[in-house]
Symmetry: C2
């Protein structure tokens, strides 16, 4: 038995809703295990009746049956357990329990005292609209690709997209620093191409290079991009960590919008009874880590997300969350101009519409395709 410990804590707690599959008594047993596993990870019977037991242990706040053999259990944790750091917050929310079956993180409720430690999105919906000078319609986004093209060819394409009216022209997430189109050359050329296009059109389109890169290279690429005149960053926190997306967003010398790419995060959401819910992974955690746009595969494309999953992401991107700004959901993944009207109707105007490969199918090239994309969006907005 440990000696009793006295602690001076704030009393503020954050809440995690776990969806747990099983019969009620089994679910309650699992919930009690979570309270221990995610905090002290220590035999509970060896902890005396002290402040660790009273305040550091997770606490079951509510239990709600959602379906046969399916419960939502809300567990609260002292905000001090997460130490106001996103890395440790992830650890308390799901670190070890991720390795247990039939438990999913369904939602998070974070008090202002915890949110105060997070700057959140630097731009959000209003800030990004202001930066781009676009109101009253969804933002248009596309990706330059395929991998294998030269930097010059990609820059040509970038310019065509910008002249055609695309607001956000991002690297395909598969473009890194390969020999085909080395990062430094690509970023310089593509940023220039957008600047030239903006001078012609009077628009304020931006190029968003992919800064998902190992160790210090992430920072070298971000600073190089800023210097070259890139207007935003694409980053995959599933590969480099949510905390580095947060650090990119928080860096005052960079000060650019962040596009959150979902690569590698599918393992968190592909099965319903494990991982973390779509709204948590792509919405809440994305905002907490400073994303201004959260890209996800829309239903009806090449991927497995359902309509309900996608709407949960959009809801989490925009719901009230203390002082954190709402952000743009960006449904993507095999979308086409033919789906614009439906997407605008479903997601509303505060949405980024991301169409990639389909813009290349237009017989007159990507410039004409971009114009058509913009016209289609404007028409869809006029019909609302």
């Amino acid at each position: 038995m440990l000696a009793p410990t006295k602690l001076a804590l704030s009393g503020a707690r954050f809440r995690v809703t776990y969806q747990i599959a099983g019969a009620r008594d089994e679910v309650m047993r699992k919930a009690e295990e979570i309270c221990i596993e995610q905090t002290v990870e220590f035999p509970a019977d060896l902890v005396p009746d002290d402040d660790i037991r009273a305040h550091v242990f997770g606490r079951i706040e509510s239990v709600e049956q959602r379906a046969e053999q399916l419960f939502h259990v809300q567990i609260s944790y002292a905000i001090e357990t997460a130490g106001l750091e996103i890395t440790q917050l992830l650890n308390v929310v799901f670190g070890n329990t991720s390795m247990k079956p039939d438990i999913q993180v369904a939602d998070l409720a974070l008090p202002d005292s915890l949110l105060a430690a997070y700057a959140g999105p630097r731009f959000g919906v209003a800030g990004l609209r202001e930066l781009l000078g676009v109101t009253g319609r969804p933002l248009l986004c596309t990706a330059i690709k395929p991998m294998g093209l030269s930097a010059a060819a990609l820059a040509q394409m970038t310019g065509d997209f910008a002249r055609g009216g695309i607001d956000l022209i991002k690297d395909d997430h598969g473009l890194a620093d390969q020999v085909f189109a080395p990062y430094a050359e690509r970023v310089k050329r593509c940023a220039e191409a957008v600047q030239e296009a903006n001078q012609r059109t009077g628009r304020r389109s931006v190029y968003a290079p992919n800064v998902t890169a190992p160790g210090r290279a992430l920072w070298e690429r971000a600073y190089l991009a800023k210097q070259a005149g890139a207007g935003a960053f694409l980053v995959a926190p599933g590969i480099v960590g949510y905390d580095r997306m947060q650090a990119l967003a928080d860096d005052p010398q960079l000060g650019l919008p962040i596009l959150f790419h979902p690569a590698l995060l599918g393992s968190f959401v592909t099965y319903p009874y494990t991982g973390m819910a779509h709204g948590v992974v792509f919405g809440l955690l994305g905002r907490l880590a400073g994303a201004d746009v959260t890209i996800f595969p829309n239903f009806g494309g090449r991927f497995s997300f359902s309509r309900e999953d996608c709407l949960a992401i959009a809801e989490a991107a925009r719901r009230p969350l203390g002082h954190l700004k709402p952000i743009f959901p960006a449904p993507a993944g095999g979308m086409s101009i033919g789906r614009v009207a439906d997407m605008v109707a479903l997601y509303g105007v505060d949405t980024v519409l991301l169409i990639g490969g389909d813009l290349h199918r237009h017989p007159d090239g990507v410039y004409a395709a971009s114009q058509r994309f913009l016209e289609t969006v404007l028409a869809a907005c006029a019909q609302r």
Copy 2:
């Protein structure tokens, strides 16, 4: 249609084995989609008969039926697609395909030309044995906890473990920089406690603080630990990215062994038909990213990994992998002294045995428990 592209590539390719569930024709369709999705992510019919089609597209190398409705499809990619960076390697292996159901990364085969870009584990099995001065038996490991104790109490515990004969005394992964036991104070006290114990015992035990931390704080904590005399690092790449584990391992000014903690990675392995296989997540990728010890929940404890899963991790930790050193598997997660003999018999001597909470159950305290742990390991080795 794109203009044809000419490329000068090495011809070297790495191979990913995907386990795909479904009927044969459906599996073949999914495999062909993977070849595109993981590389060009572009309409294949718009790519001419050029070097992008011939070399950048993924290529199906073999198809093997493993069970009813279950196939292993090996797909190769030009090493240039991954650009010799672990972030982009992860992206090519599974980035977008992680968001499709019924596809798992079962194994990786990485050619020497790719492995040459990775230093891998700095110590590995032989190096860590030399550092600790331990031969002929498994290494002993434990964790200081619970969260909520003061730095002084944790340091007292650390010293007791070291005096009792534990080789690797790590922070519990839940210890970060909370008010209970602030990082700087904890690391200084715990490192001192181990050094004092070593002076008494003549052993070379090490303390491994948890450097899983946001952004630059990871590096500040690692350097602070090095300066304070810590002997290894605990890091959770599921939270901060494999690339930062690699950067820690590669940093010549740090030069300390790396213990890989599995927090948050359960979502990759908890279901059999999604994510990545245990051997890939905890074995191959861990080694590629420089881990010297890979910690995972052993079967028969509190977690869901099967015996087969655990053996796959141990196999991947030690199999030939170019110039990369073999590393220690560390079965953990609710283990007890009573299971030592079985673990030694199953995993062999080149194993780290990690027992946490159970050492606190000994009526005479953790010093006596550590002695008993060591005696039990020696007895189990003598019986082999």
